[in-house]
């Protein structure tokens, strides 16, 4: 049966049936394979993610050996049993069960793509203790120094993030300054030649801590009492 495109023969129901049958069969097979591979790999992937988080966690909270997860929302800190929507807050404790610090993820647009970090906050000294770059696509040798340059990472051993008197933000905003001109504890010495990447780090730390530090300070007892 030839089709020259000008006069259409009536739709061949056998053909329609065979098309539907094929598509249906392939779709079913496809669904089966996808679901199967998803279910098989899910526990492995979850474990990988857990290991990755803990590796970063114990790096940014010095002295921590165990962890507990919380959810931080605008009205407080909740244990993750309660079904509340918010940011995940990781708390790190030492062997005796004492709170060593908390950690959260922060992200901002960098030079190439989004930079995502985990930063550790010590609620007793009210300062940021360390950062770990989780994901970035910055220029190798230049922008990627934010993860590798020791001098830059030294910014974060005691970066001040003190809650202000009114409890609605930070006393001093975390700001980036030109390389070599850091004079205050809440400033970040940028990497010369990688200002965009450095500014991104400063921006995400500032945005995140302005929001979370007051809440953490107010609800510290919830985290301390956990273990």
């Amino acid at each position: 049966m030839s089709q020259n495109g000008i006069s259409q023969t009536p739709v061949n129901t056998a053909l329609t049936y065979s098309m539907l049958r094929t598509l249906g069969l392939v779709a079913t097979l496809s669904g089966l394979l996808v679901v199967l591979s998803y279910r098989i790999t899910l526990p492995i992937i979850e474990e990988n993610k857990r290991l990755a988080i803990e590796r970063a966690l114990f790096k940014v909270i010095p002295g921590a050996v165990s962890r507990q997860d919380f959810v931080l929302s605008d009205d407080g800190i909740h244990t993750d049993q309660q079904d509340v929507k918010g940011t995940t807050l990781y708390a790190g404790y030492d062997q005796t069960g004492r709170l060593k610090g908390v950690a959260l993820e922060a992200a901002a647009a960098g030079y190439q793509d989004v930079i995502r970090i985990l930063y550790g906050y010590d609620p007793y000294c009210q300062c940021i203790r360390g950062i770990d770059v989780l994901k970035m696509a910055e220029t190798p040798g230049i922008g990627d120094k934010i993860a590798k340059d020791d001098e830059f990472l030294n910014n974060f051993t005691a970066l001040e993030a003190r809650a202000d008197a009114s409890g609605s933000g930070l006393e001093h905003a975390i700001v980036p300054v030109k390389h070599g001109s850091k004079s205050e504890a809440w400033q970040i010495d940028s990497i010369s030649g990688a200002t965009i990447s450095s500014k991104a780090i400063a921006r995400m730390l500032n945005d995140s801590s302005q929001r979370v530090v007051p809440i953490i300070q107010q609800h510290l007892s919830v985290i301390e009492a956990a273990l």
Partner: protein
């Protein structure tokens, strides 16, 4: 949720992180269609349209997939939507502008396998853009793709009159040119950051 403004996202996708020259998406049509300015322009417009349509559809699909928690079907759904969107554009073009349809020839169905279109959908999902952000992103990506294509077409048309060694003619030369363009575009880093 990304906090970037729409202006920043648009400029970023179009120029700073140009889809072709920085993200390496859409290379196949870039090689194939960039020989003449007219075809490059038509291809660019078709891509902008398809990107916009796919972006909107992908946003909707992603919302539904999250609702039913079947995110593992995301890739299959996206590619199905893109193929349908291209089919739609093809039929519309055939009806309203047959000359354009003939000029584009095989390239129109090839937009389906254009990684740039799927790239738009995948990136806007992984960066968790809102609806307006997604629109800005897809428009920026399409415009950027068109810019790169037009630049390359202009360059290649000029080079047709130049003496080029036979071994480098065609793909090798296009790649070298693309490398130079890419290098030049790196100078745009930080553009629009004040809107970010």
């Amino acid at each position: 949720m990304s906090a970037d403004s729409v202006t920043f996202i648009f400029l970023n996708a179009a120029i700073v992180n140009n889809f072709v020259l920085a993200m390496f998406l859409g290379i196949c049509p870039f090689l194939g269609v960039s020989a003449k300015r007219e075809t490059a322009w038509s291809m660019g417009l078709a891509v902008i349209f398809v990107m916009l349509v796919s972006s909107i559809c992908s946003y909707g699909i992603n919302w539904m997939l999250k609702l039913f928690e079947i995110e593992y079907l995301r890739l299959i759904c996206y590619i199905a939507v893109i193929a349908s969107a291209v089919q739609l554009v093809e039929m519309t073009m055939k009806k309203y502008s047959p000359a354009l349809f003939r000029a584009l020839g095989i390239f129109l169905p090839l937009i389906t396998t254009n990684c740039a279109i799927l790239g738009v959908a995948l990136f806007q999902t992984s960066r968790e853009y809102s609806f307006t952000q997604s629109i800005a992103f897809s428009l920026g990506a399409g415009v950027g793709f068109t810019i790169a294509l037009m630049l390359m077409a202009g360059l290649r048309q000029h080079l047709e009159l130049a003496k080029v060694p036979s071994v480098s003619q065609g793909a090798a030369l296009t790649m070298m040119l693309a490398g130079l363009l890419s290098l030049a575009f790196m100078g745009f880093a930080g553009l629009g950051a004040q809107y970010g």
